[in-house]
Every structure is written in structure tokens, then in C-alpha cells.
């Protein structure tokens, strides 16, 4: 039971970050492999403005989100867009985002030092009892936020003009551009939102483990796994993938030791990809001649 509750909560954290992969994948068919560094970026920006006593905590969190979002949009414009021009097999963007991740990680490490720093912004102390398992309030907040963000994104994509544009671009960017919508702009906005979510995740997560340059790396692996399991083309995917991945890895580490936790989760990815390459909730696109 403990493993189930803790797994779901942990899955919530991964699901929140996985949402940023799904968002960029739906609209641009790209993934930002530097997401882990945007997590750290968000955390450190909030840390930097922590001393602004005139700004309430929520404002500081928004600053972190905006900065991460802005840099995310720029990263798309200058490091992703130029490297996805040659059709669907062109995955140079994958290399350029990995390179960006190196640069950001190195820069953050050189500026802030490698050791974790305590972050008090947007921090909920204490824990609550959920079905007999003690869950820290901060983790619960992140998990609840994952659900809220997912619902908001789904509603936005179904009900708002921006959501319509997003879905249109995802289905057929060329035709959409003929309708007067710039896929480039849509891509930048999506990257801004997605990296904003990553920055937000970083801020909230830093309150539990402290802000450090490498804080995003373990999250990156788990959340890519979650996004792939759930299906990169489904906004609901991260919640399902997060739940499965979280519970499975928590259960495996509970039973067999910590190293098996992550291993079990990654084996889940392989199993799902073999069985359903598009992920559990993803849609498969047919090749047309």
C-alpha cells in the first residue's frame, strides 16, 4: 500500500515534467533533451530572486517559470528549428538539444557550484497521511499540480483557439501555415509553455531536495520514460505513464533494492515500446505512399 501511494506521488512528479515532452512532441515532433537543465534553471532563478521580499512566493515561482519559458522559446528558435528542416528523419535537433544540455549544465555548475542549495520558496513543510502512508506535503502538491496542469492543457487544447491551432499544427503543419498560422510561432509558444512547466517543476522539486545543477538529470530519464510509456502524442499519457512507472519502480525498489527501482521502470519502457511503439495512449500514424 505504501509503495502504491508513494509510487503514485512520485509518478506525479515525473508526469508533470513528462508533460513538457508531450507538448513539444505534439506540435513540433521534437523533444528537448535539455529539459533536465531547464528544471535546474527554474530552481536557480527562483533561488536568485528569493531575497526579493516585496514579491510573494507565487510571484517568484512565476518569475522562474517565465525565465525558463523565455529561454525555452529561444532554444527552439535557434537550436531546434534550424535542425529539423529536412523531413521527419532529420533528427539533428536531438543532437543540438543534447549539446545545449551540456552547455547549460556546465554553465550552471561553474556559476553556482556543484553542491545542492536549500530553497525555501514555495515550500510546504510537514507531511500528511494518505491511506496509511506518510507523504510529504510538497510531493503531494507536485502530484496534484500534475493532474491540474494536465486537465488545464486538455481543456485548453479542446476549447480555446490556441488549442485548436496547436492541434492543427500537430496534424499538418504545412496546411496550417497556408491558413495563416505560423508553425514557427506555435512551436516557440509551445516550447515556452513546456519549458515553463519544467522550470516550475524545478522550483517545487528544489524545495524538497535543494537546487543543484544535476537535479534535473534523474528527472529527465524518468520523465522521458513516462512520456514514452504513456504515449508522446497524448496529453493524458503522462498521468497514466507516471502512475505505472512510479508504482512499478517504487514497488521494485521496495522489494529488491534501490537499483532495481529504476531498472524496472526502464524495462517497462522497453516492454511498452515493443508492444505498442506509439505508447499506451498514443496514436499511430500510417505511412502513405
Amino acid at each position: 500500500m505504501d509503495a502504491l501511494v508513494l509510487g503514485l506521488v512520485l509518478g506525479g512528479l515525473y508526469a508533470l515534467l513528462a508533460q513538457s515532452f508531450v507538448l513539444t512532441f505534439i506540435t513540433t515532433k521534437t523533444l528537448n533533451f535539455a529539459v533536465g537543465e531547464f528544471v535546474a534553471l527554474g530552481a536557480f532563478v527562483v533561488l536568485a530572486v528569493a531575497s526579493w521580499s516585496w514579491l510573494p512566493d507565487i510571484g517568484k515561482v512565476v518569475v522562474g517559470l517565465l525565465v525558463a519559458g523565455l529561454i525555452g522559446a529561444l532554444a527552439y528558435r535557434f537550436l531546434v528549428l534550424p535542425f529539423m528542416t529536412e523531413g521527419e528523419h532529420d533528427v539533428r535537433w536531438l543532437l543540438s538539444t543534447v549539446a545545449l544540455s551540456f552547455v547549460m549544465l556546465n554553465l550552471i555548475t561553474n556559476v553556482e557550484g556543484p553542491s545542492p542549495q536549500r530553497s525555501e520558496t514555495a515550500r510546504l513543510g510537514g507531511s500528511v497521511d494518505v491511506l496509511g502512508a506518510g507523504v510529504s506535503k510538497q510531493q503531494l502538491l507536485i502530484a496534484v499540480l500534475a493532474v491540474v496542469v494536465t486537465v488545464l492543457l486538455v481543456v485548453a487544447s479542446k476549447k480555446t483557439p490556441a488549442g485548436l491551432v496547436m492541434r492543427a499544427v500537430s496534424q499538418d503543419p504545412e496546411t496550417t501555415s497556408l491558413m495563416g498560422v505560423s508553425p514557427r510561432l506555435v512551436g516557440m509558444v509551445t516550447y515556452a509553455v513546456a519549458m515553463g512547466i519544467a522550470g516550475l517543476t524545478g522550483t517545487l522539486y528544489a524545495a524538497t531536495v535543494g537546487a543543484s545543477p544535476v537535479m534535473g538529470a534523474p528527472l529527465l530519464v524518468a520523465s522521458i520514460a513516462v512520456a514514452v510509456v504513456g504515449g508522446l502524442s497524448s496529453l493524458w499519457g503522462p498521468l497514466l505513464g507516471g502512475a505505472l512507472y512510479g508504482v512499478l519502480s517504487e514497488f521494485a525498489s521496495y522489494e529488491f533494492g534501490a537499483i532495481w527501482g529504476e531498472t524496472a521502470g526502464l524495462l517497462l519502457v522497453i516492454a511498452v515500446l515493443v508492444w505498442r511503439p506509439q505508447g499506451l495512449l498514443g496514436r499511430r500514424t500510417e505511412v502513405k505512399l
Binding site: V91, F102, L105, N106, V221
Partner: protein, 672 residues
């Protein structure tokens, strides 16, 4: 059988035809021999400074060992990433497996060193096979993700599993009483790693020789039909399948090959350093291997070699550290980049400034100049050609009554057609795209399929060539049931095809495109591609002569050296037909061959198709162009809404009111 073994009178011309830009070139066996000798010489010269075991040469020998390891890993990755366009982020994982497994087999398991190394490579191959089978349905980012997952898993296991000593490294004092693997002995020769002053680092000899061999073999593979099949897969898996390549198996094979070479890189590390630290096998390693390929030039033979040498040198020399120091002195002592960040910047700059890498950029410049010069020479010849398909009656050998003899042979098997479709149907979800279609064609016959847009013509072509699996009905070809076979199996059975939009290797030359059409692309075994036996040279020469004949047949002879993407549209169609012919098919399915052609080109196409018929080919032509259909077809099938609407001679069908109605709509009164 086909026109392949006819036309003796043009063979003498092959001699001067092969001179297309290659007059100054050496014969292929000599060129390959020189390359091999050069590779071995360079490898041995690299370890000359260590011949007396002087202490000062140790670090240089270690650098050479690191480079050799990176070279073989990058060469392996290049086959996967540069040719088959499968970007793997897992090469570092195989490198780590190779390094740790060989060390563990030697020390803990006590195996003979050769057995230990073979075992480590076999383990890499086995892991590679499992990952490949698991990931082969994936493309692009998902494939990269799953390989990244593998690399991370391996890294975690090495960092946390007790038998490998965790951060103490392997071997370590606590577990093994030593921090270095014992020197290994093979056939009574002790192979010393470059560790101790005044001891000759004998292990470097097999390391560099093997590296040279790997480069030679990978060059053979890349330039063989096996290599073209990888490029075909990289271009389009569907196209590769239509060229007779078993795509799944080929992808698994190349992944396993890349994994084994990655593992060999790890083995070299073990041999050179005799001690392993888990933190050297992190994500940074896997990315460095990818960078080596991209930096040097992915999809080129020498690219990964140059890239690997360059990257290892950069990382191990003081250059990056100095750049980092410069920034701290002049910019800021906190906002600066050190080695990993600088490697990232280098990576981004490479992608921006040299997307083809060092070797790719250089060779593009050289061939560009050569082609430029050649274009000047060819000008006169080129002008005489009309810009379309022309089945110049001189190029096509006069039809021997081949068709008739074949047709006569067919009389024995009464009622058996070359191809016979019965009751063929295909449903996409609730949509019945094709329903209950019968169709047959014989050698020396052109069967045209017409019908308004959406009638199911292309679906029919795709059902026939194995792109779709029929929901109902059977297809029998040469008396054999081929219903539901995969595209590569259909192609091997003897059915070639062309596509609605020409599917060519745009960056490859016209000649290379035709060469890719031969059955060798799907059938050459890996060992033959790697070792290049004399029979390969003979077959290459044969294929080349045949390809040149086919190019003449479709009017492409003076474009042999041009990139396929630069051809005018009509010529691209002709090239596709030549490539289909190279596969020695009995039946060719042409999907709208006249779409987008000029009137003169269409006429040329008609001549070509008629001459193919005269040579005994069976043709199924899906076409909209009624003049063409009326001129060439023996039998016409008109489809509407997935069903047979009318069948008969062109005159009968084209004057059928139902056909006219399907195209132009019914007269108003009938709607009432």
C-alpha cells in the same frame, strides 16, 4: 528471361563508358589494396614512438589507445547513424559493456584472454540484438530514447553493482588486491599495456592493427550492396523493402554490428588502461561518440576516424582547458565554460557550420569541382538530348520475338496467367477501399488500370506489392500464392514497381540509384560485403555494365554522374524505371508514371513501355493519362469506388458510358 542478357552489340562500348570521371582512377582491387596498406601503415606509424618503451611515450601510447577505441566505436555507430539514419545514443553503453565484460571475464571468471574478449563482444552483440528487436519498429526520437535508456541502465549498473567495485573502479585493492588487470598472454606473447616505463607496450600492436582492419572492413561494407541497403533504409524503409531488402533483419544486423564494434572500443580501453572507472562510461561518453561521427562526417568512410581522432585529441590535450582559462581571465570567473560545455558548443557549431562534418564537407568540395569540370566536357553531348524520356530506338535492342515465344510457352499452362488476382479486397477501418477485384496480366502484356481519383487504383498497386495486406482474396504470381507477403518478399518474387512520386536517393548519383536496384542490395550476405572476395569485384563490374545499359535504355546515359535530386522530373521517372528493371522483375507495377510529365516526355514513356512489353515484361500501369492508355494498353480495367467498373480493350472501356459517367458525372436527367 529479360533483356538483361541480350544486346551484345553495345557491350564493346562499355569500355569507354566506364570512363565517366574515372579515367584517371585505379582499378578497384588495386584501390582497395592501397587503402588497406595505407590504413595499416598509418596505424603502425602511430605506435612507432613507443617501440622502445621509453617512459615518455606512455602517455602518447595511451592517447593512441583511446583514439583507437573511439575510432572503432564511432565507425560502428556511423554504419547505424550515418547510413541507416538510426541515431543511437546507446553506443556508450555497448562500449562500457565491452570494457567491463572483457575485464571481468579475464579476472573474475579466469577465462583465456581471447575467449574473454570474444565473450565480451558476443555479450554486446546479444544485448544489441535484444535492444534491436525491441526497438526496430521505432524511428527518430523514440529509437534514440530507447538506446539512451540502455546507456543509462548500463551506467547505473556499473556505478552501483558491487562486483564491479562501484566508484573504486575495476579491479580495485579491496576486492582484487590490485588496481590493474594482469598482462594478458596470447600464444606465449605477453601483451603489456602502456603503463610501466621501459616495458614495451606490446598490446598496442594488436589494438592498432585491429583498428585498421575495422576501418578497412567498414569501408568494404559501406561501399557494398549491403551498404546501399542501409542507405535505402535511411532514405525510406518502404523503398528499401521494395528493393528486396528484409528491412527488419537488416536493421537488426546493423545494430548488432554497431554494438559489437562499440564493445570492441571498450575492449581496447580495457587492454590499454588495465583499469576501469565507472564515471568514464557516463552519458558524456555516449554523446562524445555521436559527436565524433557528426564532427568527422556521418555517412562517410573516413569521417568517424577523423572525428574520433579529433575529439579525443581535443579532450585530452590542454586546448579546451586553456580556452576555459582564457574565459576566466578575460570574461568572468564564474560565467565560463569548461570542457563539457565547450564540447557542447563545438557540437552546435559543427551542426551549424559543417553539417556534413569535416570529411563530408571536404569531399563535397572536391567532387563538386570535379563534376563542374566534367559538366564542361559533357556539354556538347548533353545538348543533343531532348529533356525527356526517350526510348531511342537505337538504344533499345530490336525486339526479338521474345514475347511471342514466351507467350507460346504459356499456352501449355492454359488459364494460368503470370499474375492472377482473385476477389481482392481491402478495408481501412470502415472504408472499403478495394472490393472484390479480379485482375490478371501475362508476359508481354500491358494492363492499364484507370479510374477517377479515390477509385482505389493506388491501393490496388499497394496490395499487389505487399504494402498493404489484403482483407480478402488471393494474389497468385507465377503459380505461387503471394497473398499478404511483405514488400521485400514480393520484390524478390519478381515484381518491381515505381511510385506515384518518384522515390529516389536524391543525394546519390544516377548510377548509384540504378545500382541500388539490383537484387544484390537485398541478398548480399554481410560476410561477403565485409571481406569483399574476388567474386564481388566481378559482380560489381557486371552490375556496372548492366546499369549503364539500363541507363541507355531509358535515356539517362549522360547523366550517370549527376545527383538524382538534380534531374528534371521526367528523368527521375525514367531513373525509377531503370532501377526497377535492374531488379530483373517479370512484372513491373507503375503507379501513375506519366503524372507530371510533358507531352513529349509522355510520348517517350509510351515508347519505352511498348519496348519493355516487346521484351516480354508484364506491366501493370496505373494511369490517368487516357491518350497514353489508349496507345499502349492491351487491356484496360476501370475502377470506381474500389470496384471493377469496366474491362476490355482501350476502345471498349474508354467508350463505355459507365466509365464516362464515372469521370465526368452522370447527365442531369439520370439523377432524377
Amino acid at each position: 528471361m529479360s533483356i538483361l542478357d541480350q544486346e551484345p552489340r553495345t557491350t564493346p562500348r562499355n569500355g569507354d563508358r566506364t570512363s565517366l570521371g574515372s579515367a584517371r582512377r585505379l582499378s578497384p582491387p588495386l584501390r582497395d589494396g592501397l587503402f588497406a596498406v595505407a590504413a595499416l601503415v598509418i596505424a603502425l606509424v602511430a605506435i612507432l614512438p613507443g617501440r622502445d618503451g621509453a617512459g615518455t611515450s606512455i602517455s602518447l601510447m595511451q592517447l593512441v589507445g583511446s583514439m583507437a577505441a573511439m575510432i572503432v566505436a564511432a565507425v560502428g555507430l556511423n554504419l547505424l547513424m550515418g547510413y541507416a539514419k538510426l541515431v543511437s545514443l546507446g553506443q556508450g553503453g555497448f562500449y562500457a559493456i565491452g570494457a567491463y565484460a572483457s575485464a571481468w571475464f579475464i579476472l573474475d571468471a579466469g577465462w583465456h584472454p581471447l575467449l574473454a574478449i570474444a565473450g565480451a563482444l558476443a555479450l554486446c552483440g546479444a544485448v544489441g540484438a535484444v535492444v534491436a528487436v525491441a526497438s526496430m519498429q521505432l524511428r527518430g526520437p523514440q529509437f534514440s530514447v530507447i538506446t539512451l535508456v540502455l546507456a543509462i541502465l548500463v551506467e547505473r549498473i556499473l556505478n552501483e553493482a558491487a562486483p564491479f567495485g562501484r566508484l573504486a573502479g575495476y579491479p580495485n585493492h579491496a576486492q582484487h588486491g590490485t588496481t590493474g588487470l594482469p598482462s594478458i598472454q596470447i600464444f606465449g606473447i605477453t601483451l603489456e599495456p602502456p603503463m610501466i616505463a621501459n616495458t614495451v607496450a606490446t598490446v598496442m600492436v594488436p589494438v592498432v592493427v585491429l583498428t585498421a582492419l575495422v576501418v578497412i572492413i567498414s569501408r568494404n561494407i559501406a561501399r557494398s550492396p549491403w551498404g546501399s541497403s542501409l542507405s535505402a533504409i535511411g532514405e525510406s524503409e518502404m523503398l528499401a523493402a521494395h528493393l528486396g531488402v528484409h528491412v527488419f533483419r537488416r536493421k537488426v544486423s546493423v545494430f548488432v554490428l554497431a554494438s559489437v564494434l562499440g564493445g570492441l572500443g571498450g575492449v581496447f580501453t580495457t587492454l590499454t588502461f588495465a583499469h576501469l572507472q565507472p564515471e568514464t562510461f557516463d552519458i558524456f561518453l555516449t554523446i562524445t561518440i555521436v559527436l565524433a561521427v557528426v564532427f568527422g562526417g556521418s555517412g562517410t568512410v573516413l569521417g568517424p576516424v577523423v572525428g574520433a581522432v579529433g575529439i579525443v585529441w581535443l579532450e585530452q590535450s590542454d586546448v579546451l582547458a586553456e580556452v576555459s582559462q582564457l574565459q576566466q581571465d578575460h570574461v568572468s570567473d564564474s560565467w565560463y565554460l569548461s570542457t563539457p560545455g565547450l564540447v557542447g558548443v563545438l557540437f552546435i557549431l559543427t551542426l551549424f557550420l559543417m553539417p556534413k562534418g569535416i570529411v563530408g564537407t571536404l569531399s563535397a568540395a572536391v567532387t563538386g569541382r570535379r563534376r563542374h569540370a566534367q559538366a564542361g566536357e559533357d556539354d556538347g553531348a548533353g545538348l543533343g538530348e531532348t529533356a525527356g524520356l526517350d526510348a531511342d530506338s537505337d538504344a533499345v535492342p530490336d525486339a526479338e520475338p521474345h514475347a511471342e515465344t514466351v507467350a507460346a510457352g504459356q499456352e501449355d499452362t492454359v488459364g494460368k496467367h503470370l499474375l492472377e488476382m482473385t476477389g481482392l479486397g481491402k478495408k481501412f477501418g470502415g472504408l472499403q477501399a478495394v472490393a472484390d477485384m479480379d485482375l490478371s496480366v501475362d508476359r508481354g502484356q500491358i494492363h492499364a488500370v484507370i479510374g477517377p481519383n479515390g477509385a482505389g487504383k493506388s491501393t490496388l498497386a499497394n496490395l499487389l506489392t505487399g504494402v498493404y495486406r489484403p482483407s480478402a482474396g488471393t494474389v497468385v504470381f507465377e503459380g505461387r500464392d503471394i497473398t499478404g507477403l511483405a514488400p521485400h518478399a514480393v520484390a524478390r518474387a519478381g515484381i518491381g514497381r515505381t511510385f506515384q512520386t518518384p522515390q529516389l536517393f536524391g543525394d546519390a548519383t544516377v548510377l548509384e540509384n540504378v545500382l541500388a536496384g539490383f537484387v544484390d542490395t537485398g541478398r548480399t550476405p554481410l560476410w561477403a560485403a565485409a571481406l569483399k572476395p574476388p567474386s564481388r569485384y566481378r559482380r560489381d563490374a557486371e552490375m556496372r555494365a548492366e546499369a549503364e545499359r539500363l541507363m541507355r535504355l531509358v535515356g539517362l546515359e549522360q547523366f550517370a554522374g549527376l545527383r538524382a535530386g538534380e534531374l528534371p522530373y521526367g528523368k527521375q521517372r525514367a531513373l525509377e524505371i531503370a532501377r526497377a528493371l535492374a531488379g530483373e522483375p517479370e512484372l513491373i507495377v507503375l503507379d501513375e508514371p506519366a503524372a507530371g510529365l510533358l507531352a513529349t516526355e509522355t510520348a517517350g514513356l509510351g515508347d519505352l513501355l511498348i519496348s519493355l512489353r516487346a521484351h516480354g515484361y508484364a506491366l501493370i500501369v496505373v494511369e490517368h493519362h487516357m491518350d497514353l492508355v489508349a496507345r499502349i494498353a492491351d487491356e484496360v480495367t476501370c475502377m470506381d469506388q474500389g470496384r471493377l467498373l469496366s474491362r476490355g480493350t482501350p476502345d471498349q472501356v474508354l467508350s463505355d458510358e459507365a466509365v464516362v459517367a464515372a469521370y465526368l458525372g452522370k447527365p442531369m436527367e439520370e439523377h432524377r
